[in-house]
Symmetry: D2
Subunit: 384 residues, 4 copies
Amino acid sequence: MQQNEKKTLRIGLLGFGSMGKTHTWSVQNLPFFYASLPFAAEVVGVCTTSQEKSERVADEFGMKIATTDEDVLINSPDIDIIDICTPNIYHYKTLKKAIGAGKSVLCEKPLCVSAEEAKEIAALPLFGGQICGMVFNNRWLAPVMRAKQLIDEGRIGRILSFEGKYLHNSATDVNRPAGWKQDSTVCGGGVLFDLGSHVIDLLGFLCGPLVEVGGMSQIAYPTRKGRDGQDWETNADESFYLTGKTKDGACGTITVGKLQVGTNDDLSFEIYGERGALRFSLMEPNWLYYYDNTATDAPIGGMRGFTRIECVSRYPDLCFPSPKAPAGWLYGHLASMHAFLSAVADGKPFSPSLNDGLYVQKVMEVAYTSDQIGGIRMEVPPCS
Amino acid sequence: MQQNEKKTLRIGLLGFGSMGKTHTWSVQNLPFFYASLPFAAEVVGVCTTSQEKSERVADEFGMKIATTDEDVLINSPDIDIIDICTPNIYHYKTLKKAIGAGKSVLCEKPLCVSAEEAKEIAALPLFGGQICGMVFNNRWLAPVMRAKQLIDEGRIGRILSFEGKYLHNSATDVNRPAGWKQDSTVCGGGVLFDLGSHVIDLLGFLCGPLVEVGGMSQIAYPTRKGRDGQDWETNADESFYLTGKTKDGACGTITVGKLQVGTNDDLSFEIYGERGALRFSLMEPNWLYYYDNTATDAPIGGMRGFTRIECVSRYPDLCFPSPKAPAGWLYGHLASMHAFLSAVADGKPFSPSLNDGLYVQKVMEVAYTSDQIGGIRMEVPPCS
Amino acid sequence: MQQNEKKTLRIGLLGFGSMGKTHTWSVQNLPFFYASLPFAAEVVGVCTTSQEKSERVADEFGMKIATTDEDVLINSPDIDIIDICTPNIYHYKTLKKAIGAGKSVLCEKPLCVSAEEAKEIAALPLFGGQICGMVFNNRWLAPVMRAKQLIDEGRIGRILSFEGKYLHNSATDVNRPAGWKQDSTVCGGGVLFDLGSHVIDLLGFLCGPLVEVGGMSQIAYPTRKGRDGQDWETNADESFYLTGKTKDGACGTITVGKLQVGTNDDLSFEIYGERGALRFSLMEPNWLYYYDNTATDAPIGGMRGFTRIECVSRYPDLCFPSPKAPAGWLYGHLASMHAFLSAVADGKPFSPSLNDGLYVQKVMEVAYTSDQIGGIRMEVPPCS
Amino acid sequence: MQQNEKKTLRIGLLGFGSMGKTHTWSVQNLPFFYASLPFAAEVVGVCTTSQEKSERVADEFGMKIATTDEDVLINSPDIDIIDICTPNIYHYKTLKKAIGAGKSVLCEKPLCVSAEEAKEIAALPLFGGQICGMVFNNRWLAPVMRAKQLIDEGRIGRILSFEGKYLHNSATDVNRPAGWKQDSTVCGGGVLFDLGSHVIDLLGFLCGPLVEVGGMSQIAYPTRKGRDGQDWETNADESFYLTGKTKDGACGTITVGKLQVGTNDDLSFEIYGERGALRFSLMEPNWLYYYDNTATDAPIGGMRGFTRIECVSRYPDLCFPSPKAPAGWLYGHLASMHAFLSAVADGKPFSPSLNDGLYVQKVMEVAYTSDQIGGIRMEVPPCS
């Protein structure tokens, strides 16, 4: 009975690439991982560019509506939440419509393809109970959540220096056709958009916003195969190197790229404060490395050293599987979805917000501009 | 249409502790992870010791039958497979009934509580299409599958030495009530049954069967709290140390325990051959460490060294998420379930078999006997 | 002036294989590494089996006496300390003579080739200022010294379980001629003597003495090349697997071998206590891994996790090079020599003592006996 | 006899801080580590700013000449080599005199305090047998030497991206008085000079010279204690972040700092090529991590992964201690000194040369200029 009285959050999903599928997985898996959820959630409909694909997906994953027209979902009274997993270039128009239609909205990163678009979106008025937010799934990895706690508790003190990296290896294969993520006419940018947005958000979340950045882009393969198999002029950065300062004076670098062989999904950061330091790598998703600089420094070592904190699967509200079972990449998306849906169910604001998305957009835009004029450091305009 | 023509494998699940839930998760998640599955699968019914619990579970996870009487499932014409996730002591009786009823059976480790029971079970006649097998989920971790490949290809040559360990930390908290896994009257043994069975199977799978073992058990806390909160005499080993030889002359040790603080789910092995070596740890589930002793050994290092092979999520038939997304503990169960259901769908024998379960049972029994008479090494009787 | 008034400790060195050279290096390097040494030290003479070699060594390393007759050094009034680096089988006779001659004695491990010999040696009366001790150089690695401190401070509480390993790869090359360390007629034993003695001492030092052990030896290559290039029957264990209990009830295993490809100088231990755990590997000589089980265990990790304590080069009295400069293998010997010579200079007892050497001898002898009768666990007779 | 016929290289040492002592250690330790050296070497004299110190050092380490006047050594006919270990600001004048006096010269990094000075020095004419070179000791670590081999063999192909870091933690203690290395009036620069010079040389050596760099400096503590204990305005960068491109188009970053708590002597690099990648950290001095991107990429991992090449102590000409004994920081200096003295003995040019020193100086100077004008990337003028 109680089960039936739960509010069901009804989701309309736009796009069913890897993110659309991941979001569906997250929604459908909530009952396994979270005990006594106070809400139910259902992906009610899906929109892709092909009716055949939409129907196949709907059939396979139990969705009621299959369409190629996003307005069907955006305007449906049976849908509470629009979940945007389409290519970046379409986000802006969809966001405007969905927010205008009074829906709650969850948007995959990056928010838009320009700061101007993003600014407009972040300024849209919201109505009662309308909750909007971004998917920055890496915020929701247990070690990242633990890092945030430690920073907020003052465990590493004033932050002095940082390094963020996100390295893939896909761009070294020249014969592999460029996908939409490599096409700046669809993506709005290159690897800085695709991978850099994650790192910029993560370091902003942990270290505070960047106020000044300089950029250096790299295209190692000016010509490669396009999606049609023809020769194609690379129009998007394959690696990007950023230097920056936060408003509190911390300095550091961000490196993102798809030219780095030997990497898998190598997102990592190092954060150095006055009282301690933090290190994390997504390829070791069970651990946060924490250094307590206030520990005793005595001969033969005292107590100084990095502690590999056991984050493993110890989310506060996760009931499955064992809290000691090694965690994987999916947990970030699962916890992100859980937090967003909880916010919607409770009618409370969600963070990362659209404004957080705007911040990331601004940093990327300034970094690209800096690169174009020789790398000089430029101010990032404040977000509010 | 094609979707509808797929054969649906109908599962009756006995027990819904952590393993019952994990198996349900695996079954329900197959469509996400495996593209174009040639079969469908459904957990049709669940049996627990409480009707209330069975109904709650059935409601939450969409099962049709909720019961406290396993015979309802075992004898149901609407069920093809009995999946046994009950305490060890009940396996024997259930296995006999389910196999006798012509069902395919998947049985959580260990097979039974004695070698005698296990022997009888492994000898039961099977009828056409009846597929039976064990859940030794760690065989199905990508690095373990890769280890098996490398061994079968002769990459490490004749195996000379091995070490297997499975370490938990749960038994050092004396105030934590003993669960059924700590109660040998329900479990049939102690940590050797619970964790040791995994290691014995894994090393048997990779190095060939042990033919001689000696054992040493340890109870560090002779008195602890029982499940009723009262003082309770510990009746099961909290750590177990085994030395053994394989039929090919490899020697080594197996250490399992729940007394090891600082561990999470620390299953690991090292295997040393004439031509190479392998190392794995479940807490680093993305990698297999492989040493090629035939590589050049030249000044300043040559090419000798452990290669951390990127297993990550690169299962041959996994389509979700990215093959480079860090994997977690659940993948072992997912792949185990996929392989078993594929075997059932195809009517082909499944390995690990009940006979593999019998082998593990024999090793454990001999190890316990050896321990009781002072640790002298004893022969493990062959399995067939 | 003050410099000239320092007492000079005059050493007579027996043997100039790798250990003889290492000891000479240690003595001659003390002034670089230790500030304001209160004594001076000099290797005054060397004895090897070849006069030509003795002279070459003496010439190269500035020693005054070159001989093939150890009595020349043992009986010289110009020598205070006899440093024994000869093959094991010769230790007993030399020890008796040197101790009888009133010399201080430093003896490479193992003390003798039998417990009976060792017992006699350990019982020899010493005269005023006569300081005798063993070289168990691994006790003097910074992380091992730190481990001892932590244990003595009660940081890991009652020790429940241990594992010690020392793995080399030299025995897998069948064409490599056996050296004296592989010849039990010279060495007194096999790898248990050569590598096992280190581990037995180390774990005894850290966890307290073993009172019960069982053994399993392994010879993987019954025939190999001898030192004369001829076929040779292997007469010494190539790997050895030991299970044991300490007097305080800790249980565990020791594995030593030269059959393990992929290893270099892989000495390691894991020690599990009620309140914490310790891990060390000689191949990572800069760090001790320490787990504090009393740290907070909260969601998303709390403060639980292994801390990699920075031991690096932070010996309390080392002045060179930087305390943060990565340390190597030589530091163990350097610090061992420094401690022994300091003890001699001060006329204070040195530990590891000859009695510690006797303890190791007894454990090895019992382990060999156990192996010969099938691995049954046997009592280790107490040392005093 | 033969011993006496060897040519003895006579060294005059200027400065006896940590580098002066390290060089002395290296010279005096050569006979232990290198078998049958074709030359002998002796530190004949030492010059420091205090006669008392010079005498104490000379007495302790067996040097004949103790002086406070470098000209005594530079002009002595009994000295072949001037070894410069003085503060940076004095290098220029000393180099001119020593080279002018016909001596071979070994100079600690950096070469000078300005590119102009360095250019003049690198252009000085040398006479027959006069060998000059730089101490960039990290080039001589076994894993770095192995990295160079692999790159030269084409194992990683065209280099696309790099990262170099050298992180210390000394500048976060505001109460620790600034030493000369923190005083740009003595050092000529800050951490970019002290630590950055190592990284710039190392990456230049491995990846080819940088042709374009942008810089960002950081002073986190504008006021700290000076060497006199008084408040002191920090005049030198405490961290420095550099982005750059090599002449072959590789892009990357260099980060150096003394603000990074949790570090010891954390020099590291990552180099990404088309066919492979390399990683190294000085705090793991036994290993080079090498990724072979031409290895098979098959399901469950194929053979792809980083191989931790065992460099350990496997210098081609090192005879002590075991090639498998873990190596430490001193090996870089030892091998550097061995190579330089071998070059002098053979009358052959030595690399790293003074021109290599000039290159490093230019990069640092351009990076500082870039920083002063907002970080815009600037061309590094070619060195010859």
